[in-house]
């Protein structure tokens, strides 16, 4: 029943945005609807505390029915709108803004070598055909006639055609006097005709390669005729508001009404915005995009196609599909040619997805003679060991710490993020550098690695990650729980508050690095190999591009092998998707590669105990087995 006062207005400061709501609306959902930037790391489960808002005037109610009034700072996800309300979304509850850096790294240790030239033989082919005009003696149908011509040119036996091609076929063939430029997609079992153009038409065919990350989505627009890149764009995955990691996204899908659809629309919405930007900048038409290849982890791919991801997180961790049959763009509502096919690179398992397969593909792991490790330092921490053509992969759930998640001072690599630290012994003297030289807003993953090492070297923390409480520095002070150390004083930060790191943050970082190193060890020990046997370590991920290698080894994130054996490969998943887009053989290779990759499930009975052992041993700086890290400089001998 509607009464006159069921509508209320929520005013958001400092944006001065006014949101019309109904009484009883969930505040977080209302804020999202109005596109107010607000964090929601747990996806509205009420557990992470990141969506805190401050009530400036008016009233609301908690889920439990308690009244919220002026001066309270409730969690938006746990708040019901009951009346007009003015609230302030503080800086720490804001989602990091800014463009995702989509550039390939340049100024890094090691080098990013351009791929060996990939031949251009795209999944969407442009084939000019000349048909024999029909006669009473040759009364084959238009479609069979077209197929026959295509067969003669391409050697392919079987073709099908999209509905829209069939609808226009009779007219198009006759208008163009039985000459045509055929656009067809190689679906491996057969080719599918998706457009017939006039022979004079340039045969515009563009393709889109997309890396669908849990955190960010990056896309390349490619001219399929010559393989040239027409631009790259990146954006945060809109699904972030449904939870920070894949597990909270899966929970969102299963627990929220219409959760699967919301996730799907969030990710397709993100991709559509990238498409819009790319076609605008390249000056082409979005309907000219004839093929899309996506690389993403298994959960991301499920959500893209609107599939129920719930069993991914349930033992025995079974996805709905590993390899998704290519769907039409219209079926998942991507703004391209509706008949364009959307491919995704195949997954190996629930936690080793098409992104890591794409990485293995673009890194040419199967072709490498030397023993090679591919480490993707994302939330899932996928690792692949390539030895003599065989691939062994695992996923070492590192958590989002190195992406700035779950760390009180953490942030993504946005302007103002601290990316370098130097701390002099004694801990009083801290120098730092932020991205873009802006006032500090937080510490990004690269900065956190640097920071952990600097804190250890300066004797601020010990090898267990505990603060040296006898440190005589004003920067170290007691906090609500334990201690905190001031990294950047408030007069140098954007929001005016001191930027600090707490004991719990350090423990989180240590756990993350321990998970990755333990994952590497598990792959090696399963093949009875030693770290020295590794000829090359490829570090992938947008994150893995500016890391201070010495610091990363010094904290025990990576094995202590010669630094020149490390190579940063940047966004290898995106490159893999692009490669599959412009080279049909690579698409086939990816299938082979996924089939041939062995997935080591670290939570399985036979591995779990050993992994825990490795993990606990690695929860030390650099490691309990210090002798494995000879180059790590000795730590706090200066204490006391």
């Amino acid at each position: 029943m509607l009464s006159t006062n069921t509508r209320c207005t929520v005013t958001v400061m400092p944006d001065e945005a006014e949101i019309e709501c109904s009484r009883g609306d969930n505040l977080l959902e209302a804020l999202h609807r109005a596109e107010v930037e607000i964090k929601s790391l747990c996806g509205g489960a009420g557990t992470c505390g990141s969506c805190r808002v401050i009530v400036e005037s008016g009233q609301a109610r908690t889920d439990d029915g308690d009244v919220i009034s002026e001066g309270d700072d409730p969690l938006a996800c746990r708040t019901e709108v009951t009346a007009d309300l003015q609230l302030h979304v503080p800086e720490e509850s804001r989602r990091a803004e800014g463009e995702v850096s989509a550039d390939e790294p340049r100024h890094v240790l090691g080098t990013v070598r351009p791929d060996r030239e990939v031949p251009v033989d795209p999944v969407c082919q442009v084939t000019p055909v000349k048909l024999t005009p029909p006669s009473l003696a040759d009364n084959t149908s238009d479609f069979d006639r077209t197929c026959r011509a295509l067969r003669e040119v391409t050697g392919r036996e079987a073709f099908s055609a999209s509905h829209s091609v069939l609808r226009g076929m009779a007219g198009s063939l006759r208008e163009n006097d039985w000459e045509s430029t055929a656009l067809w997609v190689d679906l491996q079992t057969h080719g599918e005709l998706i457009d017939l153009l006039s022979p004079e038409a340039a045969g515009e065919a563009y393709g889109l390669a997309v890396d669908i990350g849990t955190t960010t989505v990056v896309a390349d627009l490619v001219d399929l005729r010559n393989g040239e890149s027409l631009g790259r764009a990146g954006e945060y995955n809109e699904q972030q508001r449904c939870g920070e990691d894949v597990i909270s996204r899966i929970n969102f899908a299963s627990q929220k009404d219409n959760g699967i659809q919301i996730l799907k629309e969030a990710v397709t919405g993100t991709i559509n915005r990238l498409i819009e930007q790319l076609v605008r900048e390249a000056g082409v038409c979005e309907r000219g995009i004839r093929a899309v290849v996506c690389a993403g982890n298994t959960t991301m791919i499920h959500t893209l196609y609107g599939l129920d991801p719930n069993n991914i997180r349930r033992q025995p961790y079974i996805p709905t599909v590993g390899t998704v049959p290519p769907l039409r763009a219209a079926e998942i509502e991507l703004n391209t040619d509706p008949d364009a096919r959307v491919f995704s690179l195949p997954a190996v398992g629930s936690f080793v997805g098409g992104d890591i397969v794409a990485g293995a593909l673009s890194s040419r792991l199967t072709e490498r003679e030397e023993m090679t490790l591919l480490v993707d330092i994302g939330t899932n921490g996928e690792i692949v060991l390539a030895a003599g053509g065989s691939l062994l992969a695992c996923s070492a759930s590192a958590g989002p710490a190195f992406e700035g998640g779950g760390i009180s001072c953490g942030t993504r690599a946005v302007p103002g993020a601290v990316e370098r630290f130097r701390i002099a012994p004694g801990g009083d003297d801290v120098t730092y550098r932020t991205i873009g030289g802006q006032p500090a807003v937080g510490v990004c993953g690269t900065g956190l690695i640097d920071l952990l090492d600097s804190l250890l070297q300066a004797g601020v923390i010990n090898r267990s990650g505990r603060f040296n409480t006898e440190l005589e520095s004003d920067r170290l002070r007691e906090a609500d729980e334990g201690y905190e150390y001031v990294l950047v004083p408030g007069d140098e930060t954007r929001d005016g508050a001191d930027l600090t790191i707490e004991t719990a943050d350090i423990r989180n970082l240590i756990r993350s690095k321990a998970a990755i190193y333990a994952g590497i060890r598990m792959l090696l020990t399963n093949l009875a190999l030693d770290e020295d046997a590794v000829g090359r370590i490829l570090i992938a991920g947008g994150f893995g591009t500016h890391i201070n290698l010495d610091a990363a080894v010094s904290i025990g994130l990576f094995p202590d092998i010669e630094r020149d054996r490390f190579q940063f490969v940047g966004n290898s998943a995106l490159r893999g998707a692009r490669q599959a887009l412009i080279d049909r053989d690579s698409m086939r290779d990816a299938q082979e590669l996924a089939r041939g990759m062995t997935y080591l499930e670290l939570s399985a009975d036979e591995q779990a105990a050993a992994f825990m052992d490795e993990f606990v041993a690695a929860e030390f700086l650099p490691h309990t087995e210090m002798e494995r890290f000879p180059s790590a400089a000795p730590g706090d001998t200066s204490a006391l």
């Binding site: 010990n462 090898r463 267990s464 505990r466 040296n468 006898e470 052992d613 606990v616 041993a617 929860e619 030390f620 309990t624 210090m626 000795p634 730590g635 706090d636 001998t637 204490a639 006391l640």
Partner: protein, 315 residues
């Protein structure tokens, strides 16, 4: 058909740690083999028994144990002396508890005085334990340590969370240190690293991996001791410390030792149970690699002495 016994030899040695000075000094460790496998390597120093002495009558002990200890239990100095004279122990394990009382705690100076008196009265090397509570212990360690300065005692315990005060004070006063870990092989080693990082010499550390009594997770603690020892003999320097185990106090916590006879008539005499439980706990850990066992019951101590003598006899 003859059978050739398989012998394993190791290339590494457990570090020797000397507790005390002069004639009564006791050295533990030094093994180049798993316990008592004299055919496979050397065991130059026998495992040692330390008598637990408390600064107040332990309120959790059974009447049987209190009775077996005798009236001396009311005076820690006399108690320790009895241990030397009647039970022939070679180490005193002094447990300080009264400084951690909420009401009317003993002062650090009181604790130090007691420790000094016992050391003087017995002439034996001393092991001194804090109450396991961070703040009161932190106040007591430096004072006790200083009072016993130069006597090369074994003070404990340092944990991953709290090791700095004790380590610093042990270094300053020339004592050995006990590194404690929660039945965790990794943390055991980490504590050793943290303590040596501060400048403590590796041959001044005895590790206390923590242990339960028979029936209370003994198997797990046993496996931890065994793994520690195997790692050490395999060349892990930071694991190659002698091991101390608490057989007496842990046994006193078990139901099988405490339960009255009318509750479980089928379990037999409680007085006997107490002895057997402690002795069995001790022998198990000796077989796992313990170098020092702290014990309570005089009869259990006698049994374990016999046991050690038997197993150390190489003839």
């Amino acid at each position: 058909m003859s059978l050739t016994p398989v012998k394993k030899s190791w290339n590494h040695q457990i570090k020797e740690v000397t507790i005390g000075t002069g004639e009564s000094a006791v050295t533990v460790g030094g093994e180049t083999t798993l316990p008592f496998l004299h055919d496979e390597g050397d065991m130059p120093n026998p495992p040692r028994i330390a008598l637990d002495v408390f600064d107040a009558v332990p309120d959790t002990w059974t009447e049987d144990l209190i009775e077996a200890t005798g009236d001396e239990i009311n005076d820690p100095v006399e108690w320790a002396q009895k241990g030397v004279e009647e039970w022939g122990v070679e180490l005193i394990s002094l447990n300080l508890t009264q400084h951690a009382l909420e009401e009317d705690p003993a002062s650090p100076e009181d604790c130090a005085k007691l420790a000094e008196e016992i050391a003087e009265a017995t002439g034996l090397p001393m092991i001194v334990w804090g109450a396991g509570e961070e703040e009161p212990d932190r106040d007591v360690y430096p004072v006790v340590s200083q009072a016993l300065s130069g006597q090369r005692c074994l003070l404990g315990s340092a944990s991953e969370e709290s090791y700095k005060t004790l380590t610093a004070t042990c270094i300053a006063d020339g004592h050995n240190i006990i590194g404690e870990s929660p039945i965790d092989i990794n943390i055991c080693k980490q504590v050793n690293i943290l303590v040596t990082d501060m400048g403590m010499s590796e041959d001044r550390i005895v590790v206390f991996p923590t242990n339960g009594a028979l029936g209370y997770g003994l198997e797990y603690a046993y496996s931890i001791l065994e793994r520690t020892r195997l790692a050490a003999l395999g060349g892990d320097r930071m694991m190659a410390m002698p091991i101390i185990i608490r057989a007496g106090t842990e046994s006193q916590r078990s139901k099988e030792v405490k339960a009255k006879e009318d509750e479980f008539p089928e379990w037999g005499s409680r007085a006997d149970r107490g002895i057997v439980w402690e002795a069995t706990t001790a022998t198990s850990y000796l077989q796992a690699g313990a170098d020092i066992v702290t014990m309570n019951h005089p009869e259990a101590i006698r049994l374990i002495r016999q046991y050690i003598d038997t197993f150390m006899n190489t003839e």
